[in-house]
Symmetry: C2
Subunit: 193 residues, 2 copies
DNA sequence: GTCTATAATTCGATAGAC
DNA sequence: GTCTATCGAATTATAGAC
C-alpha cells in the first residue's frame, strides 16, 4: 500500500523533472567532463533547484552513473559479408556519434573515461560486454583476442579526434570520406595476411 | 663533495626547484588531468611549499601551460622507404609513449586536451605544426590534407586506449604485436587504391 | 627563498519551511 | 515536491614574517 504518492500528476511531474535533470547532466558531463560539471549548473540547465538533483539522484557520483548508461547497439556481424564488416563498423559508429541522442551519451562516456576512474571502468565493461563478443562471433575467439583491442583503438581514435578534440583535419572530412578512408584500415586489422 | 662556488648570475637552487615543480606537475597533470590536480599536491610531490609554485609560475593555468611544451620529435619521413612509413610512425609513437620522460608530457597533453580547452588548442597547434607537415612532405599536400587527420586518429586512438583508458584488450598486446597489427592499417590509409 | 597564516571562492550536501 | 538558507570542506591566491 503506497501512502505518500497519491497526489494526482505527482508521478508524471517527478518523472519529467528527473528526465530533464538527466538530459542536462548528460549535456554537461559530455561537454566538460566529471570534475568541471557542477550540480548547480545541471540544475540551472534543467530549470530546477540544485537540491532536487540530490533528492532524485542522491549525490553527484550517482547522477554521473545514471548518465553513463549506454548501449552501443552493434548490429549482428554474423549476417554481414566478411569483407563488409569493417565498413559496417565504421558506418555504425559514425551514425551513432553524429546522431544527437546517442552522441551525448557516447560523449559522456568517452570524455569522462579519460579523467574519471569510474567512467573508465564503465568503458572497460562496455567494450568487454559489447564489442569483444561481436568481433569474436565473426573472427573466432583467438584472432579476436589479438585484434579487438586494435579495432577499438581505431574506432575510439576517430571519436576522440572528431568529436572530442575536434581536430580540424578530421572534422573537415565528410562521413563518406571517413568511411572510405578508414574501412580499409580496419579491414587490414581484421584480416591479417 | 659539494662546494659553494660563486657563479656570477645563475641561481642553481631556484632552477632546481623550478625543475622539480615542473616534473611533479607533469606527473600529476598526466595522471589526473587539469581539474583534479591541485597546486598543493604538486608542491607536496616536489617537496616544497605551495606558495613556491605561485612564485615561480604565477598561477595554475600558467603552470599547466609550462607542462604542455612538447616536441613529437618526428623523424624525417622523406628518408624512409614509402612502404616503411606506416611502420616507422607506429614504432616512433610507441617508443615515445613507452619512454617515461616523453610519455609523461604526451600523457599530459592528451589527457588534458580532452577536458581542457586550452590544452585542446595546444593539441591542434602541435598536430598542425608537426604531424601535418611531416605527412605532407611524403604524401604531397592534397593527399595529406585528406589523410593526415585519419592517421592522427589512428595514432591517438592507440595512445588513448593503451595509455589513458588502459583497455585490457590493448594493454595485453606487446609493442611488436601492435606494430605488426597497426602498421598495415595505417599503410591502408596512406596508400589509397 | 621559503614558509605561515589567512582571505576569498566555490561546491557538495543537509535541514527545514511551505 | 520545490525552494531557501546554510554548513563544512577544499582550493586558489595573497600578504607578510623570517
Amino acid at each position: 500500500m503506497r501512502q505518500e504518492t497519491e497526489i494526482p500528476n505527482a508521478d508524471k511531474r517527478s518523472e519529467r523533472t528527473k528526465a530533464a535533470i538527466l538530459r542536462a547532466a548528460r549535456e554537461r558531463f559530455g561537454a566538460h567532463g566529471y570534475e568541471r560539471t557542477t550540480i548547480r549548473a545541471v540544475a540551472s540547465d534543467a530549470g530546477i533547484d540544485p537540491s532536487m538533483v540530490m533528492r532524485y539522484f542522491g549525490n553527484k557520483a550517482q547522477l554521473f552513473d545514471a548518465a553513463l548508461a549506454i548501449d552501443l547497439l552493434l548490429p549482428d556481424l554474423t549476417s554481414v559479408p566478411a569483407d563488409e564488416i569493417a565498413r559496417t563498423l565504421v558506418r555504425h559508429f559514425l551514425e551513432r556519434w553524429e546522431g544527437d541522442l546517442a552522441g551525448d551519451a557516447l560523449l559522456v562516456l568517452l570524455r569522462s573515461a579519460v579523467t574519471n576512474e569510474h567512467a573508465g571502468a564503465r568503458m572497460h565493461e562496455i567494450f568487454a560486454a559489447q564489442v569483444a563478443p561481436a568481433l569474436a562471433a565473426v573472427l573466432g575467439p583467438e584472432l579476436a583476442a589479438r585484434r579487438a583491442g586494435l579495432v577499438s583503438a581505431q574506432l575510439l581514435g576517430l571519436g576522440l579526434t572528431r568529436y572530442l578534440l575536434r581536430l580540424p583535419a578530421v572534422t573537415a572530412l565528410t562521413p563518406d570520406e571517413i568511411e572510405d578512408g578508414l574501412a580499409p584500415a580496419i579491414r587490414a586489422v581484421l584480416e591479417p595476411k
